[in-house]
Symmetry: C2
Subunit: 377 residues, 2 copies
């Protein structure tokens, strides 16, 4: 397997040490000096500088669709904290929006589509969007962020999963349990597979374009995959994640870019997710990460899995719980520290500093000495 494109800074080291290297080495299950960390929704409302830029933009949509502003908020957490990766500021629903569904946000209600997909004809009309034209603002933002990052840390591009996109596309917005969408999948699987097939091609095309524009890792958020019973998860979500992984491996730009899959709550299906050929799996906080490692750690790296609620506790508790996750994973290569879900708006930014320092401080322990030493799987 060829190596991912290296950061353009002069600081690149082959031993996995240093802020610019740890994340990609960990994704390849290679030795690192300390466990790398980034945080889901790290560019978000808990940061006063984010709220200021958001205010300036006028709306979430305007913020996300203006490359200069998206770049600015992407960099904010990397400048404030010693994080080991940046993730593009964007939304999982850009692809269906580019398909013409009309994404907008209703205050207090979350994302909505003006033209949800309801009939066979609606689905027949869907086409795979060309990212450089319909999603130019994402591609421009990726290029801009890469330039502004100057190789400090790698940039993660991302998309929503085919199943999760389908949930919103059919429902027209959020739902507590997406029970109607599940019932449709059960009653008319052919129709659902048609929609998921289009979504999978669109997501693969979109992620490949992000890789071509400079994204150094790619992540798929399958936010609602865990709502499916395992048999349905295999049929309606995992299958299409596997298709995307395959399409990306055949792409000249994306083939060397590690792919991270995160199906929140689908803990019964970790083995099937690892079988897709992805580089890494996200793990929420309801499964001990040590158990996840024993189940699939020979095949993929793991990303997670601190309970986001811990970030509301005191600094001492944050340090203790971070250490618990690190110890649970153990002295093996292949761990990217993260929360088990996005950081919430009520977290004190100072607590993020505490967490990042706590994770990086493990350099000095016996466990990490073993971690640096290497391939002891």
């Amino acid at each position: 397997m060829s190596k991912p494109p290296e950061p353009d800074s002069g600081q690149v080291r082959q031993d996995g040490s240093g802020r610019s290297n740890r994340f990609l080495h960990a994704l390849r299950r290679e030795p690192v000096d300390v466990t790398p960390i980034w945080i889901m929704r790290q560019a978000g409302r808990y940061l006063p500088e984010y709220r200021a830029t958001r205010e300036l933009a006028g709306s979430f949509l305007e913020l996300m669709q203006t490359p200069e502003l998206a770049c600015e908020v992407t960099l904010q957490p990397v400048e404030r904290f010693d994080l080991d990766a940046a993730i593009l500021f964007s939304d999982i629903l850009t692809v269906p929006d580019a398909m013409g569904l009309g994404l907008h946000f209703v205050e207090g209600e979350g994302p909505k589509f003006s033209r949800p997909v309801r009939t066979h004809a609606d689905i027949e009309r869907l086409a795979v969007p060309d990212p450089e034209s319909s999603l130019w603002y994402v591609m421009d933002a990726v290029r801009l962020v890469r330039r502004e990052l100057k190789g400090r840390v790698p940039l993660i591009g991302f998309a929503g999963s085919p199943w999760t996109l389908a949930c919103y596309m059919i429902e027209g917005g959020g739902s507590r349990d997406f029970a109607r969408v599940k019932a449709l999948a059960l009653d008319n699987p052919a129709l659902m597979h048609k929609l998921l097939g289009v979504n999978a091609k669109a997501v693969a095309t979109y992620l490949a374009a992000q890789a071509a524009a400079g994204a150094q890792a790619l992540m798929i958020f399958d936010t609602w995959g865990g709502l499916l019973a395992p048999a349905m998860f295999l049929e309606f979500s995992q299958r299409y994640l596997g298709q995307i992984a395959l399409l990306l491996r055949a792409d000249p730009h994306a083939c060397s870019v590690p792919l991270i899959l995160f199906s929140k709550g689908a803990n019964a299906s970790l083995e099937a997710l690892a079988d897709t050929g992805c580089a890494a799996l996200g793990v929420d906080w309801t499964l001990p990460i040590g158990e996840a490692r024993r189940r699939v750690g020979e095949h993929v790296a793991l990303q997670g899995n601190l309970d986001p609620a811990v970030m509301l506790a005191s600094p001492d508790v944050i340090r203790r719980e971070a250490r618990r996750v690190l110890d649970d994973f153990g002295p093996y290569p292949g761990h990217v520290f993260n929360l088990g879900h996005g950081i919430t708006p009520d977290v004190d930014p100072e607590h993020v500093s505490v967490l990042v320092e706590a994770v990086h401080a493990c350099r000095a322990t016996a466990g990490t000495a073993m971690r640096t030493a290497g391939n002891a799987t």
Copy 2:
């Protein structure tokens, strides 16, 4: 172990056949003629007769606190469908209400407490309520339902778990993730343990009183246990479920009444839940029930685990998915069929008939012949 009190009908058979016997036999992992079924929230808004009685009562609280009306709605689903158990119509928050917290319901927002627990002094003031005085309406309803059921099917009494009650008692109402309560547990575990200790004694006393009044099985709903990381789940939920199980085994009325624990989403901790000494565990739909059986089926019966969304699909799909759950559990004793969560208000009652018939129809298959045959664990 002594046997649970038998239904007062003359139809009792020791071979586990017949509507009045299957449920209790299955909970004891004894052979049954067909797999028994009941449905969480079977007395609920999807039934027009429920909506009529609820209208008459004026409010949910009035309905639940008037024994005659609570009895009426408890019996409605048993009269309409061939279900194998009745569950008392009540609410998981009756105990904190009896502690003086002031339970009320806000339209569209769910349960609220007027006087949430916030300080050490608030917790010091809490006392274990005497069920026959403070919760007389529940005790009267249990006695009335037992009389009206005339032994047709067993009656399940229930309570909320100490952890789940604590979530509402501290937060003062529902929450998406109860992150504040979790942070409090991390920051001040001593205070949380004080609260959970009182809750555990109160719940055990309440369940024992329901058994004395005639409940033939007892269930604890740990609705928010699955939001906890496994280590926190052990410390703040499972431990107290174990205390309750122990207290009930020492109670003259409850010692022979099977106890069912349902910690929704806590699938990483099934073994620890089985270790509490309960008779059965509820299993949500995100874990294959066959896998749950392989993990803990030698120690406990299992209740579940059809995805509630299936009830919105067509009758053919309902039959197929019911069969999938039955086949996945396999030809072993110890299965009580149920949904993996409560039935939703938008389900067509006719679909419940379809499900109940489908589950009972498995009598005629080879799989069920083996199931009737017995102890092949």
